[in-house]
Symmetry: C2
Subunit: 155 residues, 2 copies
């Protein structure tokens, strides 16, 4: 990819949207992630689910965030001058994610501002809307990252 094809701070406009491809979540991956990072019975143990508020094994919310981030990285961040994240404003777990679900993400630019102290970068906030194969929204997320400015990279 030539430098001119990378989307810098200047080219990201509030209201722009980027649709990612889809990814199907497997039962093995739900259990592997949760076993390592979120070992609640309802994420790792099919029998324990019966004693929970869920009707079957559900993915950790952090796992859903991680899967969404991978999709957003492949189809949005990798095309940009992103330099790193500063934080997540909010993440809302709206519906369970189950084995066999296929997730995709709509990334929308919702806010941008130049860095007050560093002229080579700006802050861009995106909203990620994560949906399953039934077009049900399972997660919404706002995250802010630094993006390099074109003027800086052309110097």
């Amino acid at each position: 990819m030539s430098p001119t094809e990378t989307l810098h701070f200047e080219e990201l406009a509030v209201g722009d949207t980027f649709e990612t491809g889809g990814r199907t979540v497997t039962r093995a991956e739900i259990i592997a992630f949760a076993d390592r990072y979120d070992p609640q019975p309802f994420h790792v143990d099919a029998e324990a689910v019966e004693d929970s508020v869920f009707d079957e094994l559900v993915a950790s919310g952090l796992h859903t965030m991680a899967l969404a981030n991978r999709l957003a990285t492949d189809d949005f961040y990798a095309r940009t001058s992103v330099m790193g994240g500063t934080g997540i404003e909010e993440a809302n777990f709206l519906a369970p994610v189950r084995a066999g679900d296929t997730l995709s993400v709509c990334v929308e630019i919702v806010e941008k501002r130049p860095s007050a102290s560093k002229p080579d970068r700006g802050l861009v906030t995106v909203e990620q809307t994560v949906s399953n194969q039934d077009e049900e929204t399972v997660l919404t997320l706002r995250i802010t990252s630094f993006f390099g400015r074109r003027s800086a990279s052309e110097e």
Copy 2:
């Protein structure tokens, strides 16, 4: 563990704190997580770091959140009647996490309220303050979950 030892909604008081044990992050784990969920060059490629704003390989912010969640689960959530998370109010990536860093978490109860519609549970918001071995705060995070009420489990 007997039912009376599980901390229910009623026993979680605003201001209560829970300190977790520590966990050292390895370089292999930083790369494995990022390779799967956050494949930015500065998370997976030691040479690409030279072209980034970081001085060496840093963990994905999502990885730091996941590691913190594991510590908080082992030393807080597993002792409680937690039923699942509703969302993250904010997460602030304040300092890089590097291979060899040892993370620990202070979990503080910052807000609680009964569920308006479901008498068997209540909502509790905790703040997680994640520190490294130098007592530098690397991440702060507010997350809200449902916790079962004692009255419900005793019925």
